[in-house]
Structure formats: structure tokens, C-alpha cells
């Protein structure tokens, strides 16, 4: 069964393009899947960024005609949908895959096969969504897709939205379950829950939130799907449906989604700030408690997106108070970070600049969040640029700052090379200044009466100056991302080689092994003796972890092309359903859809029947590999 056993020490026999491609299409290694998520998400991040630039170009001057009406709506819808589902989510999954097994001292995730399937479903979902540009027009109902506009009034683009998100969402749900099980079951000996690094904690809570929030989206999408393709009337008032139901379903998913996004960023910040202050995280237990509390409250506040729907003052105020309550655990986090810095010895490299820049920026987004929680004031803010400013402060200023910090921090661990610091700092300052220029003044635009999702504004409304500033800021951010791309390309060729403990003051387990880690991660499962396990060992004068087991053969899962084939079959099914909305081709299209579903089940059958015992990496080989890296 050890067919692949030698793959580690010897380079692949036939190292052509196709075997390279095959390797990536069939990998189940969490470290490779992390890279897939990173570049898959990166691709969509660039597409979403270009869409953002189109929006800012159109809004630079009043009564512009660059991008108007339906086309503008397509671009804003795709920008939002892409950035949330196809860029932010996979970026988070990239870090989860790259870091979590290493941080808990595991050799892989609990279900490597499902892990690969999760990635391919996300990726094909994104492809389906973006195919709409070439096959009759993109969705144009906003990323929130309110019915009945989305269910009855808009064209075929909405079907791409529904099915693309359905497929991508299934991938996300699988990924979350996988990480839940991984964190619960695969921790190294001694790694108790209250010794988990904070990033692992936040990912754990995020996975719980995904588990409960994404099914709501799945259900909602199914309802729209049936309304659109089979005239089901769930959201059609004229036939007894109710369009407000969609808003509830969407935000029961949508609000937790915001925390699904931000919690891992909190985790990254906690790791980076502690590492580069050379201090343990201040108030670890209250950080964990705050994370859990935020996760819990996340499900209690969705109506704050719906204050203007007309649910009445009782409902509005109850949800208002619940929303304000979230400020308390969030505040705890902010102060704990500041007091982690306090008394430390702070190194300002790019990773830490993003982490430190995150704090005031995120606080800005947080306080406007509390302002938005006041229902009657929200009647003024709602759907205005004030809200646009608020959520970009938390999602870009919070999440993206956190992710970029995490990328710079863990890049050497993932790729074995450091990103360049000079380029990194240029990247940070351009992005930081560009970000605030773009979004700070949008608060005022909103208060001055400019609604969101407007493709233009009139001369003489007084919105000109701030919009121009905003567009200039957006260009700075765009250049910042280009600098980052250059940095990535540069470091791939010339980047400084990273040591195992790449920053020399690493605290957690991932820094105790080589960069990049060998296929099996830990030659010997480490024994964890306390919080910041690796730091503890270093303080005791050692340079590696105490082992919990002798060196032995390591069992590995074998790679499989089936996850890729399964997502391809769901893509075929989705495209079939999408085209069944066109009269004339309904029957053949439904047939294609059916074929896709059948193919999917065949893949499942094949997977169930074929026994996959994995393979072993032999002891000698492990010893050989370990010699080379240290």
C-alpha cells in the first residue's frame, strides 16, 4: 500500500505540466489546500477589486455616464458577493488550513478528502457565479438579493447567484464541520482547550457559527431557486407569499456571517500582536470568553439590518439592545490587545503594522456599529453611505487588515520564504492611507443624504468633493495591492529563506517545525505543557518541542481526484438548472442538470466502494527528512 511512500524523498518521476496539475487537482494535504484557497481567493479578490474600481470611477464625478443603470447594479452585486463569499471566506480558509493543524500539533485535518471537496466546491461556485458575465448578464439585486426584485423581476443572472452561492456555500459548510472535528479531536497531548492559541479558538467559534448560519442561507437560496425555476411563490405577495421572509432568512445567515469573517481576524491580531510584543496575550481567558459571547450574540441581532422594514418599535428596540451588548465583549478584546502591547517590546514589521493599524481602524468601525444600533437614528443611516463606510471599516479595516497581517506573518511558514519588508511597508502605508481616504468621508456622504447603490448623484447635491476623495483613495488601495503582488512574485524568486522559527520569537507550535513543514508536519507529536507551548520550551532553554511519542512510521491519506470530479458534476448540474430557466431549452437543460446530479452520486458511490487505506511514510525516511531541515 505504500505506492507513494517514496514521493517525499524523490522528486516525481514524470514532472511535466500535467503531473504538476494532477498533483494540485488531487491533493488532500491541508498545506497545499491552504495554498489553493489562497490563490483561488486571490483571483476573486482581484476581480472584486477591479469591480470596486469601476464603481469608484463611475462615482468620481456627478452625473457620470461611465457605468449606469442595470450594468452598475450588476457590478455592485458582483463586487459585494465576490468579496464576501469568494475572497474573504477562502482567505480565511487559507489561513485555517495553513495554520490550525500546525497550531494544535496535528498531522492533518480530520477529513482530508472532505477538505479538498470543500475547496473545489467553493472554487467552482465562484466560477459559476462569474460565468454569468459571459452567459447573459450578472446578478443585479445587490449581494443581499432582496425578494421580490431577485425572485421575480431580475433576469437569468440571479440564477447564477443562487446556484453559485449554493455550491460555494456547501463547500464552506463542509470546511467548517471538518475544522470543528479537527479542533475537538486532533489536538496534541496536553493541548487542552484553555491552552489553544487564540487563532485556533476564534476559528473554532467561527466554524460553529458557519455550522448554524450557512444552513439558513442554503434554505433561503432553495426557496428563491424554487420561486424562480418552478414558480413556487414563497416570496410572491400576490399569491400568498411574503417577501420579508427572505430578509429574515438572509440576515439570520448574514449577521453571523459578519462575525464568521471578523473572528478569525481577531485571532490573527491576537497572535501577531503577542508575538511581536514578545509577550503572552493579555487576558487570555477573557479573550476566549469574549469570543464565545460574540459568537452567541451573533445570532440574536439580525433584525438590526431590518429596522426600516416596519417590524415595529418593540422588535426594533429589543434587537437594538442586543446589538449594543456586543460592544462589551468587543471592547474587552480591544483593551486586551492594547495591554498586550503595553510593557512589551514591539517590532514594527509589516505583519505587525497591519495588526497595529487594525486596532484604531476597527474601533472606528465598531463605534459606528453602536451608532447604527439606535433604531430611529438608523432610519437616517440605513442604506446610506454611512452604512457603506461602517461595513468597509469592519470588513476591510478589520478583516482584510487582519488577513494581510496573517499573510505576512505566516507566509514564511507556508512557503519557506519571507515576503520583502520594504515592499511590505510600502504596501501597508498605501493601503492604510488609501483605505481611510476612501471610506472615512463616506460617513459624511451618508449623513448628507447620499444613499448607497446609487449609480450617480446630481450636480448641486454637494456630494462631489467627498466622492472624488474617495475615488482617489480607492486608487491608492489598488496600487497597494499591485505592490503586494509584486512582493509575492519577488519573494518567490528572491525572498529570504525562512527558518523554522521564522520570526525568532514564535510562541506557538507551528514555529517549532520546518518552514515549509514536511508533508507529515510533526515527525513526533509534541507534548504541550502550557499556553504558548513553543515559547515555554524556548524559555526552558530548548530549541524544539518535547515529543509525546517515539519516531515511527507515519500514516498519511492518499490523494484523490474524486473531490474535483464531484464539484465538476455539481457545476454541470447547476448550469443545467440555470439554463432551464430559458424557454425552449428547458427540457434538455433539466436533463443536463439531472445528469450532473447522477454523476455526483456516482462519484460518492465510487468513493464509498473503493477502500482507501492511505499510505505510510517510513521511519527512516522521516529521520532522513528531519536531518535536512534543522
Amino acid at each position: 500500500m505504500s505506492v507513494n511512500a517514496h514521493s517525499l524523498s524523490q522528486p516525481k518521476q514524470n514532472s511535466g505540466f500535467f503531473s504538476w496539475l494532477w498533483e494540485w487537482l488531487s491533493t488532500v494535504d491541508h498545506k497545499k489546500i491552504a495554498i489553493l484557497y489562497l490563490f483561488g481567493g486571490g483571483l476573486f479578490f482581484l476581480i472584486g477589486g477591479i469591480e470596486a474600481m469601476l464603481i469608484r470611477i463611475q462615482l468620481a464625478v456627478p452625473e457620470n455616464t461611465f457605468l449606469v443603470g442595470h450594468n452598475y447594479n450588476e457590478v455592485i452585486t458582483m463586487h459585494g458577493t465576490t468579496m464576501i463569499f469568494l475572497a474573504a471566506m477562502p482567505f480565511i480558509f487559507a489561513l485555517m488550513n495553513a495554520v490550525i493543524p500546525l497550531q494544535i500539533g496535528a498531522r492533518d485535518v480530520a477529513f482530508p478528502f472532505v477538505n479538498a471537496l470543500g475547496f473545489w466546491l467553493f472554487f467552482m461556485g465562484g466560477i459559476i457565479l462569474n460565468l454569468s458575465w459571459f452567459l447573459g448578464g450578472a446578478p443585479a439585486g445587490g449581494w443581499t438579493a432582496y425578494a421580490p426584485l431577485s425572485s421575480e423581476f431580475l433576469g437569468n443572472g440571479m440564477d447564477f447567484y443562487v446556484l453559485g452561492l449554493q455550491v460555494a456555500g456547501a463547500g464552506t459548510l463542509m470546511g467548517a464541520i471538518n475544522f470543528l472535528v479537527t479542533i475537538v479531536n486532533m489536538r496534541a497531548p496536553g493541548m487542552t482547550f484553555m491552552r489553544l492559541p487564540l487563532f485556533t479558538w476564534t476559528v473554532f467559534i467561527t466554524a460553529v457559527l458557519i455550522l448554524f448560519a450557512f444552513p439558513a442561507l442554503t434554505v433561503g437560496l432553495f426557496l428563491i431557486f424554487f420561486d424562480r425555476l418552478f414558480d413556487a411563490n414563497f416570496f410572491n405577495e400576490a399569491n400568498g407569499g411574503n417577501s420579508i421572509i427572505w430578509e429574515h432568512i438572509f440576515w439570520i445567515f448574514g449577521h453571523p456571517e459578519v462575525y464568521i469573517l471578523i473572528l478569525p481576524a481577531f485571532g490573527v491580531i491576537s497572535e501577531v500582536i503577542a508575538t511581536f510584543s514578545k509577550k503572552r496575550l493579555f487576558g487570555y481567558s477573557s479573550m476566549v470568553f469574549a469570543t464565545i459571547l460574540i459568537g452567541f450574540l451573533a445570532f440574536m441581532v439580525w433584525v438590526h439590518h431590518m429596522f426600516t422594514v416596519g417590524l415595529g418599535p418593540s422588535a426594533n428596540t429589543i434587537f437594538a439592545i442586543a446589538t449594543m451588548a456586543i460592544a462589551v465583549p468587543t471592547g474587552i478584546k480591544i483593551f486586551n490587545w492594547i495591554f498586550t502591547l503595553w510593557g512589551g517590546q514591539i517590532t514594527f514589521n509589516t505583519a505587525n503594522l497591519y495588526a497595529v493599524g487594525f486596532i484604531p481602524t476597527f474601533v472606528m468601525g465598531g463605534v459606528t456599529g453602536v451608532m447604527l444600533a439606535v433604531p430611529t437614528a438608523d432610519f437616517q443611516y440605513h442604506d446610506s453611505y454611512f452604512v457603506v463606510a461602517h461595513f468597509h471599516y469592519v470588513i476591510v479595516g478589520g478583516l482584510i487588515f487582519g488577513l494581510f497581517s496573517g499573510f505576512y506573518y505566516w507566509w514564511p511558514k507556508m512557503f519557506g520564504r519571507h515576503l520583502n519588508e520594504t515592499l511590505g511597508k510600502i504596501n501597508f502605508w498605501l493601503f492604510f492611507i488609501g483605505f481611510h481616504l476612501t471610506f472615512f468621508f463616506q460617513h459624511f456622504l451618508g449623513l448628507m443624504g447620499m444613499p448607497r447603490r446609487y449609480f450617480t448623484y446630481l450636480k448641486g447635491e454637494g456630494f462631489d468633493a467627498f466622492n472624488m476623495v474617495s475615488t482617489i483613495g480607492a486608487f491608492l488601495m489598488f496600487f497597494a495591492v499591485i505592490v503586494m503582488l509584486i512582493n509575492i512574485a519577488y519573494s518567490a524568486v528572491k525572498g529570504e529563506k525562512a527558518k523554522g522559527d521564522a520570526w525568532e520569537q514564535g510562541r506557538t507550535l507551528e514555529w517549532s517545525i520546518a518552514s515549509p513543514p514536511p508533508e507529515y508536519n510533526f515527525a513526533q507529536t509534541p507534548l504541550v505543557k502550557g499556553i504558548d507551548a513553543f515559547w515555554k520550551e524556548k524559555m526552558d532553554g530548548k530549541d524544539k518541542m518535547t515529543a509525546a511519542e517515539p519516531v515511527g512510521d507515519i500514516h498519511m491519506p492518499s490523494s484523490s481526484i474524486v473531490p474535483f470530479l464531484m464539484s465538476i458534476s455539481l457545476t454541470i448540474a447547476s448550469l443545467g438548472f440555470i439554463f432551464s430557466a430559458h424557454d425552449g431549452v428547458r427540457k434538455p437543460a433539466l436533463f443536463v442538470a439531472g445528469a450532473g446530479v447522477v454523476l455526483f452520486f456516482l462519484c460518492m458511490l465510487a468513493r464509498s466502494i473503493k477502500d482507501d487505506p492511505g499510505f505510510h511514510i517510513h521511519k527512516e525516511e522521516v529521520i532522513e527528512t528531519e536531518k535536512g531541515v534543522r
Binding site: N73, K279, G310, M371, T376, Q380, G449
Partner: protein, 340 residues
């Protein structure tokens, strides 16, 4: 060096100018409120902002101090800071103070939210009721007590509570007059409500605030506040309908209108209900809610509405009607006034 100092001295000026322009245009900005609801909303916005600025200042001061004081300095590479686990007292402090601040904010939040949502009208209350219906991409206004229907311009008396009942004919819209009151959604098949009033006579800009399709950005309307007497006169005049056209061209236009436009548009009692009622078209502030009110724009509109408002539900008449006919139509429409 001198230049540097000058620009430093000019900085506050620049900041003040920015803040002032940050208030926006009168009649359109939430920061220059002109009615009870908008005023109380602005007060609440400022109050919450004040608390938040307080929080921001505390955070920024501590944060700035920390990153300056504790940055890594040359020559202490081997220094290992004390590994502090936490501090129960401090942690309690920054749990309790925010709770107190939030309670302080919650009190006016609750009372004002209830006050602003109170649209109950008891018998004999001196309020003006308006039924507003959102359409892709225009607004219909009906006064059930006065039995009047109009579109695009909502006429209200100053100083009186106006209760607005909202619904939609197609998708979800939202009714927003920033200077008078916050927005409420207009949902198809349901009714929602809000109330507002205006202190001063004048025109206030209204707009749709919920994405409703291609021309969501152009779904403007006006709220015209007039004195109570003027309002009374206006509602009486509206019921009498517009005066008959007098010039030959306008009369010709009336005929063309009857043949081409009445299936959708009504003038007075007669005509379709699927498009804006044009009884007082000549008295409107704008054409289609946002274009300057002149014959040139009107003709451009009739020729090709989709060019002005993408996706507008009115057919283009470029190929149906000659320029002469369109001129006559314009003359007719500009004669439709209820002002005596």
C-alpha cells in the same frame, strides 16, 4: 520652513471648511434637520457620536502611548518583557464602563424609537394622512381624506403631523426625506408607516433608499411644504382639476394625449392608474422627479424616457409621434395647472 508653518496654521481653517461642507445642502441633509422627527434623530445621532468620540479618545490615547513607549529600541535585543497573564481589576473596569455607557445610550434610544414609530391616528386628530405607493421608478401620493391623487411632488402643510402609509406596487422601495425624517420601506402587499412634519415652507428632497432596479438612483421625489391655508386651497383646487387648455396647440395636444397616453396616465378623474397622475403637471418641481422642469426636458422625456431613466416603464414615442405632435403635447402638459 515658513511654508510648513503657514500650512500648519491653515490646517484648522481647512478642517472647519471640511466640517461645514460635511453638513451638506439644506433641504437634503440629515445634519440640517427641518422637522421634528429629523431633529430628534439628529440629536440622537450627535449624542451617540459624543459617547463614541469619548470611547475613541480613550482608546487612541492608550494605544498611541503604548506603541510609542514600548517600541523596540536599539541595544535591548535580549530583553524579555514580563509575561503578564492579565489583570482582573482592569478587565472588570473595561467591562463595566462600556455597560454603563450603553445604558446611558439605551434610554433615549428606546423612548425616541417608540415616539417616532407612533403613527396611530385617533378619530378627530388633526393630522394629514397620505398613502404612498412606490412604483419602479416613481412615487404615487394619495390623500384619502381629501380624495386627491398626485405623483412625484408630495404637498404638505407646515407644522402639521403628516402620517405616511407606505406600500409598493412591485418591488421593495424605501421612502426617505433626509431633512424631515428617516426612511421606512415600502413593501409589496403590505403597509408600513411613518410620520413627519416640516417647520418651514420649502422644498425637501426625497429619494428611494432600497435597491429597486435599474433606475433606483433616479427615483427622486419632492416634498413641498406650504402654509396650512395654501394647502387647503391646493387640495380644493386639485379636486376641481386642471383648467382646460386654451391655446390651439394645447388643444391639439390634449387630443394626442387622449389617443396615446391616457391608457396609463390620468388627468383629473379620467385615465389609467399605472403611471403618474398628471393633473398638476405644470406645477411640478421637476420632470420625472429630478430633471429641470422645462419643455426641452419634457420633450426629451416623451421621445425616449429610457434614455433619461434606464428601465422606465414608459414606452418611447420617438417613432410614434412627429416633432409637431410632441410640441403640442408639451404645450398641453404645461397647461395642466391647478393654480388659479
Amino acid at each position: 520652513m515658513k511654508k510648513w508653518r503657514l500650512s500648519l496654521r491653515l490646517f484648522p481653517l481647512f478642517a472647519i471648511a471640511l466640517l461645514l461642507s460635511g453638513c451638506g445642502k439644506e433641504g437634503l441633509s440629515t445634519l440640517i434637520p427641518m422637522g421634528t422627527v429629523a431633529k430628534e434623530q439628529a440629536d440622537l445621532m450627535l449624542f451617540s457620536l459624543l459617547i463614541m468620540v469619548l470611547v475613541m479618545v480613550v482608546v487612541i490615547v492608550l494605544f498611541t502611548y503604548a506603541i510609542i513607549k514600548f517600541r523596540k529600541k536599539r541595544g535591548q535585543e535580549d530583553f524579555i518583557p514580563k509575561q503578564v497573564e492579565g489583570n482582573a481589576k482592569l478587565e472588570l473596569l473595561w467591562t463595566i464602563i462600556p455597560i454603563i455607557l450603553l445604558i446611558i445610550l439605551a434610554v433615549p434610544t428606546i423612548s425616541k424609537t417608540f415616539a417616532h414609530s407612533d403613527t396611530h391616528v385617533a378619530k378627530g386628530d388633526d393630522v394629514i394622512k397620505v398613502k404612498v405607493t412606490g412604483h419602479q421608478y416613481w412615487w404615487e401620493f394619495e390623500y384619502p381624506d381629501q380624495k386627491i391623487k398626485t405623483a412625484q411632488d408630495l404637498v404638505i402643510p407646515t407644522g402639521k403631523k403628516v402620517v405616511v402609509e407606505l406600500t409598493s406596487k412591485d418591488v421593495i422601495h424605501a421612502f426617505w426625506v433626509p431633512a424631515l425624517a428617516g426612511k421606512i420601506d415600502a413593501n409589496p402587499g403590505q403597509t408600513t408607516s411613518l410620520w413627519l412634519d416640516a417647520d418651514k415652507e420649502g422644498t425637501y428632497k426625497g429619494r428611494c433608499a432600497e435597491l429597486c432596479g435599474s433606475s433606483h438612483a433616479l427615483m427622486y421625489f419632492n416634498v413641498k411644504a406650504v402654509s396650512p391655508d395654501e394647502f387647503k386651497q391646493w387640495s380644493k383646487d386639485m379636486k376641481d382639476g386642471p383648467s382646460a387648455p386654451t391655446t390651439a396647440s394645447a388643444k391639439k395636444g390634449e387630443q394626442i394625449f387622449k389617443n396615446n397616453c391616457m391608457s396609463c396616465h390620468a388627468v383629473g378623474e379620467k385615465g389609467g392608474q399605472t403611471a403618474p397622475n398628471l393633473s398638476n403637471f405644470a406645477d411640478r418641481e421637476n420632470i420625472a422627479g429630478f430633471k429641470e422642469h422645462n419643455k426641452k426636458n419634457l420633450k426629451a422625456w416623451i421621445k425616449n424616457p429610457g434614455k433619461i431613466k434606464p428601465g422606465a416603464e414608459m414606452p418611447s414615442f420617438e417613432d410614434e409621434l412627429s416633432d409637431d405632435q410632441i410640441n403640442a403635447l408639451a404645450d398641453y402638459l404645461f397647461s395642466l395647472s391647478v393654480k388659479k
